[in-house]
């Protein structure tokens, strides 16, 4: 039998099906639709988090004082009193060939004022290298000047929000602001890049690290950001950090190094697993649809018993009858899957409108997978009815009543 004829025969048989078929199509459509929407949601969540992390910088290592017992991603819980990280520690890291840039960071809080306006904000003491490490962008002026980190000048870079709180629409570049008891010249304003993982980089003032040390009267660093030369050199950069600091701290391992890629990989893994789990649960609905297909096909087989007898009398072998009925269930499930994909696109479109910030997109593989699973379901659950049809006794089939 020609492929086209087989298809035509099955499609015409299907169009004679009743309301049960619509129910089954609906079930399959809901099953496929939910699988696709859930994968889109899971994948969206994954990309959302990955994106947040990526904004922190590339090939990033974070050096924290204190030793963490957990090898994972959390900052250490301070048990013992560790030796402080110093600016010299940070500068010593530049020695390693696997390390591209180092930015020491001191964080404190102080009132910032210009004329009558005053705000209590976070003050970040660092060096020029933070600019490249954290992918910062300037809307006006320049970032902290490169130069000897040990010598601080009285300059500051303002976050976008702080700038507008203090100056409104007026020009801030070149003006003086008071931070704590000292006066700083504004040399730059950051773009309103917004929040990245909790730190609002638009509501702070950045000053040279040495200036921050004297402002807060504190030599110890909050942390050190290290950028490795490349993705491949991250593990060696990490080892270099550990080695150099141990050497400087009299052989004590009293720091924690978090690699951003490790954190990323962890989150990536978690979200992939979540997506898979959600997809798996949604797949159960496909099984329900499969059982409905089986029901529809069993009814069709018993309604068309005499037709099956006739096909056998006309010389159709078992294989051919099996194929005809399998094709019908496959067509049913593919039609259901097509409806389901339409539902999924409509659903994702609606969700996208409702939550525009969330990067929602149907991953192409999920479409293929949904159709494949639907087809497999249709074939799997179509086997029983088709086998029943193929194995019918021709004489009994022809003599059955009600066909």
């Amino acid at each position: 039998m020609k492929v086209k004829d087989t298809l035509q025969f099955s499609i015409r048989a299907l169009s004679g099906f009743g309301g049960r078929t619509w129910l089954m199509l609906l079930a399959m459509a809901i099953g496929v639709g939910s699988v696709v929407v859930l994968t889109a949601l899971g994948d969206g969540a994954r990309r959302y988090v990955i994106n947040e992390f990526a904004q922190l910088g590339t090939h990033l290592l974070v050096v924290l004082p204190g030793r963490s017992e957990t090898t994972g991603g959390h900052p250490p819980i301070m048990g013992e009193t560790p030796r402080d990280l110093t600016l010299d520690d940070a500068l010593a890291l530049r020695r390693s060939p696997f390390i591209k840039q180092v930015a020491p960071i001191i964080v404190g809080s102080a009132p910032v004022s210009s004329r009558q306006r005053e705000r209590e904000v976070n003050i970040l003491g660092t060096t020029a290298e933070l600019y490249g490490i954290r992918h910062l962008e300037m809307s006006q002026g320049k970032f902290l000047p490169p130069g000897d980190p040990q010598r601080g000048s009285a300059v500051t870079v303002l976050g976008a929000k702080l700038k507008s709180e203090l100056f409104g629409n007026r020009r801030a570049l070149g003006r003086w602001v008071r931070i704590g008891e000292r006066r700083f010249r504004v040399i730059g304003v950051l773009t309103a890049k917004g929040q990245s993982l909790g730190t609002d980089i638009s509501d702070l003032a950045i000053i040279p690290v040495a200036t921050a040390q004297s402002l807060f009267n504190r030599a110890s660093l909050f942390r050190i950001l290290v950028q490795a030369r490349s993705r491949e050199s991250i593990p060696r950069a990490k080892q270099a950090v550990l080695d150099i600091i141990r050497e400087r701290h009299d052989g004590e391992d009293d720091i924690t190094v978090i690699t951003q890629d490790a954190v990323l990989a962890t989150f990536d893994g978690i979200f992939r697993a979540l997506t898979m789990a959600a997809t798996g649960i949604a797949t159960i609905s496909l099984v329900v649809a499969g059982i409905l297909i089986m029901n529809v096909m069993l009814v069709a087989v018993s309604q068309r018993t005499t037709e099956i007898g006739l096909l056998k009398a006309l010389g159709a072998p078992q294989k051919q009858i099996l194929r005809l009925f399998l094709l019908e269930s496959a067509l049913l499930s593919v039609a259901g899957a097509a409806c389901g994909i339409a539902i999924a696109f409509a659903g994702v479109w609606a969700l996208d409108r409702a939550f525009p910030d969330f990067p929602l997109q149907i991953p192409p593989w999920s479409l293929g997978a949904a159709v494949a699973v639907a087809l497999a379901t249709g074939l799997l659950f179509g086997v029983l009815p088709a086998r029943r049809a193929a194995r019918m006794d021709p004489v009994q089939a022809l003599n059955s009543v009600g066909g």
Partner: protein, 221 residues
């Protein structure tokens, strides 16, 4: 072309065994026209189903064109049905969703013939049973006699050598029954071997050979 020797067919009904056919010996030559008569339950349909390879004897041997069919596989028997045997049933067995022409075309479609070769053959077959003008009607738009003629066209489109008809006029009035019998006889004149099961003595009188069955045996030939 047909030779049966010692053919028996039994059915198990509950604890009882029903002997539908007992020790049937029969020989039919190519081109023959035979009518099978007999009371209800005498085994006429069972015999016809065995001749048509729809059923297997429990004992005995059936040669069709010198081929022993009793040891053939299901697939080989289907193949013989497709190419050598045509069936006409009392209740027509047309596929209700297909038009007359499509019903006639069905065996060619199942056999995988190309569409452009099918079309002229279908037209010719419909013309043969004088239904060209009803080609695109569905079975429910046709009379009983017309339906049976569509079924005959379908049974012969593969040009079988053996045509088996089980009470082909059983559901028809006298007039359309006559049309159907004449159509079948015309095919017989063209050389097809024709076997008709009938209750109608008038029909059996027209046959060149009459087989009388009683209780699973052929009592008169």
């Amino acid at each position: 072309m047909i030779r049966l020797r010692g053919v028996e067919r039994m059915f198990q009904v509950g604890s009882e065994t029903v002997h539908a056919l007992r020790a049937i010996n029969l020989q039919l030559d190519a081109g023959e026209y035979a009518a099978i008569m007999g009371p209800s339950g005498s085994g006429k349909s069972t015999l016809l189903n065995i001749l048509g390879l729809l059923d297997r004897p429990d004992r005995g041997t059936y040669w069709l064109d010198e081929v022993d069919t009793t040891n053939l596989s299901e697939e080989q028997r289907a193949d013989l049905r497709r190419h050598k045997i045509g069936f006409v049933f009392q209740s027509f067995h047309l596929v209700p969703r297909l038009t007359a022409a499509e019903n006639v075309e069905l065996p060619l479609v199942l056999a995988g013939m190309a569409p452009q070769r099918r079309k002229p053959r279908v037209e010719q077959a419909l013309e043969h049973v004088k239904l060209t003008d009803r080609a695109h009607h569905r079975p429910d738009q046709l009379s009983g006699g017309q339906r049976q003629r569509v079924a005959i066209a379908r049974a012969t489109i593969m040009r079988p050598t053996l045509l088996l008809a089980d009470e082909p006029t059983g559901n028809l009035d006298h007039h359309s029954g006559n049309d159907v019998i004449e159509t079948l006889e015309a095919l017989n004149l063209e050389g097809i071997t024709l076997v008709i099961v009938t209750h109608d003595p008038e029909i059996s009188r027209r046959a060149r050979r009459r087989l009388q069955m009683v209780d699973g045996t052929i009592v008169d030939d």
